[in-house]
Amino acid sequence: MTTAAPEQVPSRRRARQAFAAAAGLVPFGIYTVLFLGVPVVAVVVSAFRSPSGGWTLHNVWIASHGIYAHGFVMTIEMALLTSVGPGIAGLVVAHAVLTSRGRILRRVVSTASGVFAQFGGVPLAFLFIATLGSTGLLTGWLKAAGFDPYDHGFDLYTFFGVSIVYTYFQLPLMVLIVTPALEGLRPAWREAASGLGARSWEYWRYVGGPVLLPSFLGGVLLLFGSALSAYATAQALTSGSIPLTAIQIGSFLNGNVIPGEQNVGKALGVGLILVIGVAMVFYSMLQKRASRWLQ
């Protein structure tokens, strides 16, 4: 490394240096392009092609009507429900844990949320079948207490049931994400606020809330994405009886295809990516407002 200030280096030499510096990124770049870039581009391109070759909008038309449109609506509703709800709950839990004095509690919660956040899919489905299935333990307890949830419209294998199951990994994920931000709230700010006569809600409205907002929104966005692309849990619980887009895409691969519609699954995939893209645009807009608010 030269110690010369960059301004003194001739531009051509600087360009060559930058080029040489970028050379170290080549293996990573090749890998990412081959295994991430190429497949995604392939999906996007085939979404606009008919099985016989040639460009078409037919796939997109099918993917945005009928059961597939319904699937998108269900998926987005599910993702919103299981990102905002567990997001707020995760924030509350993380706050409760951080402000408690028990150090053991904190350690248990931090490792437990690491485990539960990773714990999805098939095993999770079994846990909840044993708990809230029609012969589950909790169902049995409630029945013994004189309240049969299955008589009151509850069913584990429906939209609402699946969203309870999602909470099992969404809430710990939020705790993991938001804990560092909560740790960043200095006790001195709270003391200063109450020293100036602020009440608890005023502290959260004018100090704590604005500071936390960006990380909270980021966490909710991550939960939204994870709920949107969750496949295993819903598949294992419902065997595809709820029309979620991810499961519909999977069923195209499993060979449940009407001839001529082979590429509709890819159009659905593009749709999912678009939904996440829109969510990210919203997020960055909110983020910008939040940072202006902070100033």
Partner: protein, 290 residues
Amino acid sequence: MVAIGEVNVLMDTTGPPRRAARRPTRSRLADRLLSISWWRGIVLVCTGAFFLIPLYAALRFSLQTFSGGFSFSAFGAIPSQQGFTAALSLSVRLAVVTTLITLGLMVPTSVYVHLRLPRLRRTFDGITIVPIVIPPVVLIVGVLQVAPTFLKSTPYLLALMYAILAMPFVYRSLDAGLRAIDLKTLVEASRSLGGRWGSTLWRVIMPNLRTGLLSATVLTVALVLGEFTMASLDLYQTVPVWIYNFAQDDGHVSTAVSLLALVVTWVVLLVISSFDLRRIRRTAQIRKDA
């Protein structure tokens, strides 16, 4: 709390009338603190119940026998189930290969970015987060479409894809580790003592990155052992796919395997974090001695 006490002391010196005015405030504060800890207790108990009841239910269910008694037979029966050892061996091989690929790719690249291209750090941050945006089910659709036959016929195609899925988590752990050490000084010291790049990376940077490497490894292994979407759509029977397929035959054993999967991950994470704690204590000890 200290600051509030100080404020009160200041008020106390200003004379009796003010002190009288301050008193109720203080007790109101105490009331509020009391109500907060009430509220905290309720939150913690509800959360604990939400997370523990399913575990308990699954444990009970897997211990139940058809005659109504309890036994560990469902756990004992796991290894002898048809296809389980094959599935476990495939999952373990995939975990090892994925970890090697991920670390082999990400460690040199992250070190390089931190050392040579610190200005690109934010951009690199953005690039490594992309796999979170692409749903795995979409990615596997594209991969199965474009992958050449020799890759499609081996399960290790999954390892190559898992390395992509693990990238965001692995980079974040490595990044945290690299920020915590004085990378530039370490490298310059090693280079000036005549160390070559390979030995600098292997003998100087890697030992200092131990915590980051460990958490990256744990996250990767956990991801591979739990991944269902890609494996099932690529038609390979890893452990989660096996549990799913086997559930139709015996729910008790499937539930037992599910519980075991959770407990094993937890134990591994606890071991790793206690290893970390020991290291922190030792560092503190060295500092104290110095």
